[in-house]
């Protein structure tokens, strides 16, 4: 005999009602006020006798009827089977999804997660199937479900347990949405295809930090039969903040670095310190350590859930500091932010001209002055020795060659090769002879006259001059002047130029023209490089260009054109691919020398595609490991930990910083209702006993609905009530009689 709804047994308390009613009749009905009780005496003996129950049979009938009705509400049934065992349970297909993102490195969170997973495994039945997935920014299948037709793995929970022990949190961010979508989709289709009786279920063990990405759930229709049980693991100390270097402001690369400090919403602390540090990899490949820079720390106050941006002075020896370290919070995993320090670019400029280096009437002096104090570059200006090869052994390979004199045939060949390999050649003819050599490189350009056209000379220079009338500001050379504040070139007067005409169709591009329509600057692409030609010089005899404020930026733009920009590469997040570029240097210009160490910081914005004859890439990871990649691989994907990576192609080393995703540091707990709002069916965790109870209850309900004992109970109760009515009427008649 079993009872389906034991709660209704509380209705048995109603049995006291008839009892009370039978007794209530015996107590005095009312209260009589009287002036004085001095003449009265109590009458107790009659009271006790009358408090006894009479009409016992009536009472019993009423009690029985009430009890039967109560019992009917309890839905009793006759139990057939004795009891259920765990083997009677339907199996389940359990996907354990464990978060291995970087935030799981906090405190004892990972140990908690492992314990939670092991508890799930302990609760499995032999008929259950289990799979283990790990996810951070991508989903990894550690152990898959039982494949159809494949031989079952013996003691699968134990295998899963062993693999679980080997798991460690990595440095990835948390993409909860994608992981859930993938596993739910797999479970759903597997149940569909196999018509499996196993109940699918996903158990997610994670810290559910608010930086978890769940956008993928938005566009996914969650399968109704796949419930998700969320097991949250959280550390005891919740203070967590992280610092992130912001991109430098345009044109102000060397100012103090701006650092954004974000404090998690559930933090308890609000006082942090940010300082520069140097990331040191021990030569043996052991653990990397931070060497702190003394005296470069900045205190910052950030209330929980808020963000502050501070300026962090780099100090004098800023070249070496390559990471900032935040102190003052409970968790270290996100406290280091790596940044590749901007380095001075070393470049070589070859000058071929007749003027001396100190000649104020010549071109070279102004060129040297223009590149001398460039904070971003270390430019070496060397005279070009036409008799030698372009580079002597031991000398650095030039990025740019400026020629103002006439060019011999050999030199022309060498220069053409140089340009074809990607070099930049600027021709500034200072004489009629030199002007003819311009035609060697620009075959579609014709000099109208052999001699230079002089617009104004002597006293007439004040009135007669040429201006730059038409400038292509989209050209890299003039791009820095594109803004209206800088685009005024009318202060630069030109008095002497060489008028040229372009044959049509011309492949030469006119970058700037004088106001009379004659070309001022010509450009032509040759191979990978380009040749530029000025029809006027910058020396004071020809024009005011060298003395104008535009000259230094113009030379800077020319150097940028030749050897790339100097901006610091923005860091990428862990797991994101980094494009790889090879050196554009080739052996044809000059045999490579071991000592010609060139750095090319422009990893991301490189100008040239991969080299032709590169032997392959070697990328050194922050932990000292070296990854060799084939030459045709265009990007490096194994950015699996934060730090400074060094990519080597041939002799060129490129450095790039990989950092933890900023979202991973938002460690405040995620509101799980957000998952439900995106359609995820949140289930509850049920132990084996609870599941058995549920199954038992289902069986009981079925049994009860088959037997329907309650109907008979109601019938009997009605019968009893009829009897009671008859008996009560009879008793009353007897009393009145």
């Amino acid at each position: 005999m079993g009872i389906l709804v034991p709660l209704y047994l509380a209705g048995l308390t109603a049995l006291s009602l008839p009892l009370i009613l039978h007794l209530v009749r015996r107590t005095p009905r009312g209260r009589q006020e009287f002036s004085s009780l001095m003449f009265l005496s109590p009458t107790p003996p009659r009271l006790t006798r009358r408090s006894r129950l009479d009409q016992i049979l009536l009472l019993l009938l009423r009690l029985a009827a009430l009890a039967l009705v109560t019992l009917a509400f309890c839905r009793p049934f006759l139990r057939e089977a004795a009891s259920l065992s765990f083997a009677d349970l339907t199996g389940k297909r359990l996907a354990i999804l464990i978060d291995t993102s970087a935030s799981m490195k906090r405190g004892d969170v990972w140990q908690q997660a492992i314990k939670a997973a092991e508890k799930q495994l302990d609760d499995l039945n032999p008929q259950d199937d289990v799979a283990l997935f790990a996810f951070s920014d991508r989903l990894r299948t550690i152990i898959d479900f039982q494949k159809e037709g494949a031989s079952p793995i013996s003691d699968k929970p134990q295998v899963v347990r062993n693999r679980l022990k080997a798991l460690q949190p990595d440095w990835g961010s948390t993409d909860l949405g994608t992981a859930l979508v993938a596993v739910a989709g797999e479970l759903d289709t597997a149940s569909d295809v196999r018509q499996s009786p196993l109940e699918p279920q996903i158990v997610v063990i994670s810290d559910f930090q608010s930086g978890s990405r769940i956008e993928a759930l938005q566009s996914f229709e969650w399968p109704e039969r796949v419930p998700v049980v969320t097991l949250r693991v959280s550390p005891t100390n919740t203070t967590n903040a992280h610092a992130q270097v912001l991109p430098a402001e345009e044109g102000n690369e060397l100012a103090d670095v701006r650092v954004r400090v974000v404090n998690a919403a559930d933090s308890r602390g609000d006082q942090f310190t940010v300082e520069w540090s140097e990331f040191v990899v021990s030569p043996s490949g052991g653990k990397a350590t931070n060497r702190l820079k003394e005296g470069l720390r900045t205190d910052v106050y950030v209330p929980p859930g808020q963000t502050r941006i501070i300026r962090l002075p780099r100090g004098t020896d800023n070249l070496q500091a390559d990471c900032i370290v935040l102190r003052g919070d409970d968790h270290d995993f996100d406290n280091t932010f790596f940044v590749v320090p901007p380095r001075k670019l070393e470049a070589t400029l070859l000058y071929a001209g007749r003027d001396a280096a100190e000649d104020p009437e010549g071109l070279q002096l102004y060129l040297r002055l223009a590149v001398a104090n460039d904070p971003l570059r270390q430019v070496e200006v060397r005279p070009l020795d036409a008799t030698k090869s372009l580079t002597a052994p031991g000398d650095s390979i030039p990025e740019i060659i400026v020629v103002s004199q006439a060019v011999s045939e050999e030199l022309r060949t060498a220069l053409t090769k140089f340009v074809e390999q990607g070099g930049v050649l600027l021709l500034v003819p200072d004489g009629d002879e030199a002007a003819t050599s311009v035609s060697l490189f620009f075959d579609d350009v014709e000099f109208t006259r052999a001699a230079a056209e002089t617009v104004g000379a002597g006293e007439s220079r004040r009135e007669k001059y040429l201006l730059l009338g038409e400038i292509d500001f989209t050209h890299p050379l003039f791009a820095p002047f594109a803004g209206p504040r800088y685009s005024d070139f009318t202060k630069i007067h030109f008095w002497k130029y060489r008028p040229v005409t372009l044959k049509s169709p011309a492949t030469t591009r006119v970058v700037a023209r004088f106001d009379n329509g004659d070309p001022a600057l010509l450009e032509r692409s040759v191979g990978k490089g380009r040749v530029l030609a000025l029809t006027s010089g910058w020396q004071p005899e020809d024009s005011q260009l060298a003395l104008s404020s535009k000259f230094v930026p113009l030379v800077g733009a020319l150097l940028d054109l030749a050897c790339g920009g100097t901006e610091v590469a923005e860091s990428v997040a862990v797991g994101q691919p980094v494009p790889l570029f090879s050196s554009r240097r080739a052996e044809d210009v000059s045999p490579p020398s071991e000592s010609s160490q060139k750095s090319n910081e422009n990893v991301l914005g490189g100008l040239t595609p991969s080299a032709r004859q590169s032997s392959g890439h070697i990328v050194q990871t922050p932990d000292g490991r070296e990854v060799r990649l084939a030459a045709d691989v265009s990007s490096f994907t194994e950015t699996d930990r934060p730090g400074i990576y060094r990519a080597k192609v041939d002799s060129t080393e490129t450095r790039f910083a990989v950092n933890l995703s900023a979202s991973e540091s938002l460690t405040a707990p995620l509101d799980l209702e957000q998952l439900e709002q995106r359609g995820v069916r949140i289930g509850t965790e049920q132990t084996r006993t609870q599941r058995i109870d549920r199954v038992r209850q289902q069986r009981d309900t079925e049994l009860e609905s088959r037997q329907k004992v309650w109907r008979w109970l109601i019938v009997v109760a009605l019968g009893l009530l009829v009897m009671e009515t008859w008996w009560a009427g009879r008793a009353e008649r007897k009393i009145t009689a």
């Binding site: 009287f34 002036s35 009780l37 009458t43």
Partner: protein
């Protein structure tokens, strides 16, 4: 309502029963003994003094007050005579009204309790005596004395007396001795003391106090006011009986308890009657269901008859 409009006293206090008053208006509350008061020849007074009513001349003897010497007679006859007047002392009546909680009882058909009945009796007597130009005093009491108004005959006194009667019932017991003591202590002249109470208290204490009053020459009338159910105990259903004074509760089956109650009640009445008769105190029983006018009429009538008997006896 008609009577109310006719009676001027109704405006002063509600306790005066106009019906009763109309009926007793022609009666007099006479003192049994002639010594107490004097009004319009009703009460002969033993005192002589300076007043409007001349009685006689007396020859002067040395030591007499010269104020009373009749100088005109001396001028005419050259003899010293004193002029004597009758004293203006009136009847002094003290109304002792029991306002304990037990007086708040009334049985079902009646809409007023014993206290209201007693107050009406007291007010009516007071007004009646005022009409007679007698001095009336009032003492209300329960287990203590609540209000005390000395016996006076002056304007506004009746109004004050009515206000004193207005007070709520209080007290958890009845002490019948206290008001009697108070009268004995404060009343210098003899008067009539009317005790209005249900007398639901031990009577033993009454004996000494009444005796003391009597010895001072006061005339005492006890008017015992009772609810009809107190007399007959005609309750039907068994219930918890609640003592209005002490708050005690008792389960009583009236059928079983009636005989015992009546026996004890009669014993108490007998004891009271014995004490009073021994001291020459009259006891009148008024039940609240009886019309007040009739009851008062009978009461005064019987006193008049008794008074005549006394005077007749005296004359004999």
């Amino acid at each position: 309502m008609k009577l109310e409009a006719l009676t001027p006293a109704r405006s002063r206090a509600s306790y005066i029963d106009p019906a009763a008053l109309m009926r007793i208006k022609n009666l007099e509350l006479r003192a049994k003994l002639v010594v107490d008061g004097f009004l319009s020849g009703l009460h002969r007074s033993p005192y002589h003094g300076f007043s409007v009513e001349f009685t006689e001349y007396r020859q002067y003897s040395p030591g007499d007050d010269l104020r009373f010497l009749d100088w005109r007679l001396f001028a005419r006859s050259d003899r010293f005579y004193l002029k004597r007047f009758e004293d203006e002392t009136n009847l002094r009546c003290y109304l002792l009204v029991d306002l304990s909680r037990s007086m708040g009882f009334h049985s079902t058909p009646l809409e007023y309790d014993k206290a209201e009945y007693a107050k009406t009796v007291a007010a009516t007597i007071a007004y009646f005596l005022t009409l007679q130009r007698d001095a009336v005093g009032l003492i209300t009491f329960d287990q203590a004395i609540r209000e005390y108004l000395p016996a006076r005959y002056r304007t506004g006194h009746l109004h004050r007396l009515m206000i004193c009667l207005e007070h709520e019932l209080a007290g958890t017991a009845t002490d019948l001795g206290l008001p009697l003591e108070q009268v004995a202590r404060t009343a210098r002249k003899r008067g009539v003391v009317v005790l209005l109470s249900d007398m639901l208290a031990p009577v033993e204490v009454l004996e000494t106090k009444l005796g003391y009053l009597r010895s001072q020459g006061h005339e005492v009338v006890v008017i015992r006011i009772l609810d009809p159910s107190e007399v007959s105990f005609q309750f039907q259903d068994e219930s918890m009986f609640f003592d209005l004074e002490s708050g005690r509760e008792l389960y009583v089956d009236p059928h079983a308890a009636r005989a015992g109650y009546q026996e004890r009640f009669t014993d108490h009445a007998k004891a009271l009657a014995r004490v009073c008769s021994g001291l020459g105190v009259d006891v009148y029983d008024l039940t609240t269901d009886g019309p007040l006018d009739l009851a008062l009429f009978d009461l005064l009538n019987s006193r008049i008859r008794r008074g005549r008997q006394v005077s007749r006896r005296r004359r004999v």
